[in-house]
Symmetry: C2
Subunit: 193 residues, 2 copies
């Protein structure tokens, strides 16, 4: 859980006018929109084929597991996330440089997914931060090194399945943001057609 050396302390935002926080609007979680950050794990919109003598449909390889480094292997964990409700403050992001990390609801819990591209000084690009609303039948798989916020289960405590790299090498950078973002639960306005 060691922070990146390039990251500033947790109170840096106080010096930057955070009394007027930035509102971060939600976007629907689609495969296309999320592609720069990882996979959307969902049956909707994906192809399937029959297995098990036709009794099961398989949506093959919708999440690409990445394992880098010498001592790593993929593993399955479970997580129980505390309940969050809007408004949600976003003050930090983290990343796992050595492997992907998937979060998939085990009981259809919706959740909020916050990601950012990497930017100057190997920190999150705060101009590119985005928030997605994951429906209960959607999971996400963050690619290795993608800045993201820890689990934000919406409305109720949520059970999630986690697939990520298991290993002893340090694999979590945390970075406090220069500004606080507030997710108020409203969606980004779509451009009129």
């Amino acid at each position: 859980m060691a922070g990146s050396a390039a990251c500033v302390s947790g109170v840096a935002w106080l010096k930057k006018g955070a009394n007027v926080p930035n509102v971060l609007k939600l976007e629907p979680l689609t495969k296309e929109a999320f592609a720069p950050f990882g996979d959307v794990i969902c049956t909707r919109g994906n192809a399937s084929f029959p297995i098990n003598n036709g009794t099961t449909q398989r949506y093959h390889h919708v999440g690409k597991v990445q394992v880098h480094g010498e001592d790593g292997q993929a593993g399955i964990s479970l997580a129980v996330g505390g309940a969050f409700s809007f408004p949600i403050n976003i003050a930090m992001l983290e990343r796992h440089p050595l492997g992907s990390q998937a979060w998939i609801p085990a009981a259809r819990n919706p959740f909020v997914v916050v990601v950012a591209p990497n930017g100057a000084n190997d920190r999150p690009d705060e101009n590119g931060i985005r928030a997605f609303y994951a429906e209960g039948d959607q999971g996400v798989n963050y690619y290795a090194g993608v800045w993201h916020h820890p689990l934000l289960s919406l409305g109720q405590q949520g059970d999630f399945i986690v697939v990520d790299r298991i290993g002893s090498a340090p694999n979590c950078d945390e970075c406090d943001l220069n500004q606080i973002f507030v997710i108020d639960g409203t969606y980004e306005q779509q451009a009129a057609v």
Copy 2:
């Protein structure tokens, strides 16, 4: 999906008195009972530790992903399994020699898990066949090479998360059993204490 060379044809059971099928009683799915066959993926009975500044509890590495062979990697898939109801006939088993395979309900669907040890002629040991009732908050992870029945979602169509080996090498042996087993939905009697 090529069958093992040691496996007999699908009608062999007809020659062996299958008019009196064997009833296969259910057992509760516990970590201890299932240990010879794989992992039970469940929060109950497992330890956890806090992550994400205490907002999440992690049940670490409850499923051990195995990937053997040259061209394989772990991957995440989804599956939608047709509904089964008792009585359920068990006439075949399959195994994946090159990797583990996890099945975890995405919406708390209970399911039935049928496994057998390997036996003579590299076939399932039909004397050791067992059936487990998986509650909706339980998944299983079959270890590489463990004989098991394809997905049996109970009562309704079930959405499942699958974590298994992705690769091009043949990785599924199917074997028709010498007898039909019938799962009638009742549990094995526990010995009186």
